[in-house]
Symmetry: C2
């Protein structure tokens, strides 16, 4: 089943802070509101056990009638949850962690292989797929392409198996990162705040069954595709070199607290280990990257300093995942930077 | 104006995940739902400019008729926002920061006097005032009594003055902290996650006008009172030694992002500088503390090691703020520890 949240009607008028839940055809061409089942995605997640079968039934009917619904316009979409109650972001691809640390001269402690890194993000404003990235280029604006799961309720102390069962939906995120603000902020010891502004989400969420057979053992085994200014930038496989699966990450989150329905957990920047430093970029025959920081790290190792700048005014990032037939699964995140000069 | 959120009806039945908004009499004895204005506190905050005058009018009428409404029972209350979209917690009392750091052998960098410490917390499950603290005593369970502001919408880049105008409501929080999980977690560099489980809130929220003349320059100039197992533990003044006021803290939060209506920002553990180490505890004639960690720090300095344990099964914490006449402003946070053995 595929779902999305419209935040504008066909005339461009607001559909409210939480938008309107729609079912979306598998080919992403048609959509239909389902107010008689649930007005918003959060309302559906609040009662997922009852809502999911209802929505699945409607989705099946909708797929069978190609004339049903209206045109699906991702520009009218917000984030699937335009505001959410919990946004935690893991860093499950340790290759990314090791590289980003290396770039600032720090080693990765061996404990990181057993103890997942997770940060708590702001969830009051989740951006839609085409929202601009508004920031000061002096902040070092970077993208981070990731896979996200959305859960139902989870009790404190839930096991990885219980966590896996609570994964209701999947989607993609661009976890925008302000690299030049990170070192000073992390040095203070309280984690990210200013350096992790609002994130943008793909327009469409999928139930795990929709991703079979690529969804296995709480990992999504498909390449995550990133373009920078229309040039291919990366397509690492999200199922490769993921040191903790989503069930393990969620169990880490649940150790000391319960999680509410509609919790979003990100995978961290997808990153594949590859042989040879320069082999990693697409122009050098590799699978490339899901953020600029990794490319800049390779450049620093090879050339003594990074040569690719962070994002500037007008730069465009595109993030998408396709199935084995090239069909877009979640729709596309397409963001453009709007530079401001911050005081 | 005083408001609260009921999560149970008089028969103990759930009033839903977001509960029911009620206006509360100034003396905290009576309450009345206002569904014709707003069903929930979040709904009121979403349209605060229009809702606040309506609610204020109803509150004035309610105060004038002492027979109106039903008995206000804080045991039926959830957190004012039982789930929220943004919970950020500052650490504006640098005396607390310096002491807690000293306890782990770390100095406070001078930059902390200009650059506020703020961490992002989980907001999907905000506990009501009498919810138990469920945790493993090996985690080192501690309380942290704080003042909290709740805002309307704020644009990215808002100034301190704009932020001060956006403060809609105030209340109190017990920001439960798991001291023995903190060092390892902070060493990973991504901030708190497991070491900051769900926080409990006072039952009642107040508009700033209700706190005049104690609400001045975005600080609340009243003692915050804490009892541990019915013994007075602290009553430091929340307006004293607060190095950043709420407007400055909010402006820090807004630097790279907008904030949505219903954002909660905590002050950090209230802590007053006092002359002499032992003078600080109440039994030694001081104003005492708002967390165990500070007392343990003093003990470590004086005796070589802390002698007061963290919280164990059955321990009870009470947090309250009263006006100059001894009247409770926000109602009382009263939590008891329920010990579990975590795997």
């Amino acid at each position: 089943m595929k779902l999305a949240t419209l935040i504008k009607d066909a005339n461009g008028n607001s559909l409210g802070r939480d938008g309107q839940l729609v079912i979306v055809s598998r080919d992403l061409t048609r959509a239909q509101p389902v107010p008689e089942i649930a007005p918003t995605l959060q309302a559906a997640l609040d009662n997922w056990q009852h809502m999911e079968p209802e929505l699945q039934r409607r989705f099946t009917e909708f797929e069978q009638d190609p004339t049903a619904g209206e045109t699906f316009d991702p520009k009218r979409c917000g984030a699937p949850l335009p505001r959410a109650y919990h946004w935690a972001d893991g860093s499950a691809y340790l290759n990314h962690v090791a590289l980003v640390r290396k770039a600032r001269g720090a080693e990765m402690p061996p404990s990181f292989e057993q103890d997942p890194l997770i940060y708590q993000g702001g969830s009051d404003i989740m951006l839609g797929p085409t929202a601009p990235i508004i920031g000061d280029p002096r902040w070092g604006i970077d993208f981070e392409a990731e896979v996200v799961v959305i859960t139902t309720d989870l009790d404190q102390g839930s096991t990885p198996d219980q966590c896996e069962s609570a994964i209701a939906l999947l989607t993609l995120v661009n976890d925008v990162s302000l690299r030049n603000l990170i070192p000073n902020e992390l040095a203070k010891g309280f984690g990210f705040y200013q350096s992790k502004p609002a994130s943008a989400f793909a327009p469409v969420v999928l139930t795990p069954d929709e991703l079979a057979p690529h969804w296995q053992s709480a990992k999504l085994n498909l390449p995550l595709r990133v373009w920078l200014n229309d040039q291919p930038f990366g397509y690492p496989d999200a199922g490769v070199d993921m040191n903790f699966n989503f069930a393990q990450l969620l169990a880490h989150c649940c150790k000391t607290r319960a999680l509410g329905a509609g919790t979003l957990l990100g995978s961290g920047t997808v990153s594949n280990k590859q042989q040879g430093l320069w082999g990693s970029s697409i122009v050098n025959g590799g699978v490339g990257y899901c953020c600029l920081a990794e490319l800049r790290m390779y450049e620093a190792i090879e050339q003594g300093q990074p040569s690719t700048p962070f994002l500037g005014d007008g730069d465009r990032v595109r993030i998408e995942m396709t199935d084995q037939n090239g069909m877009s699964l979640f729709g596309t995140i397409e963001q453009q930077v709007v530079a401001i000069e911050a005081s």
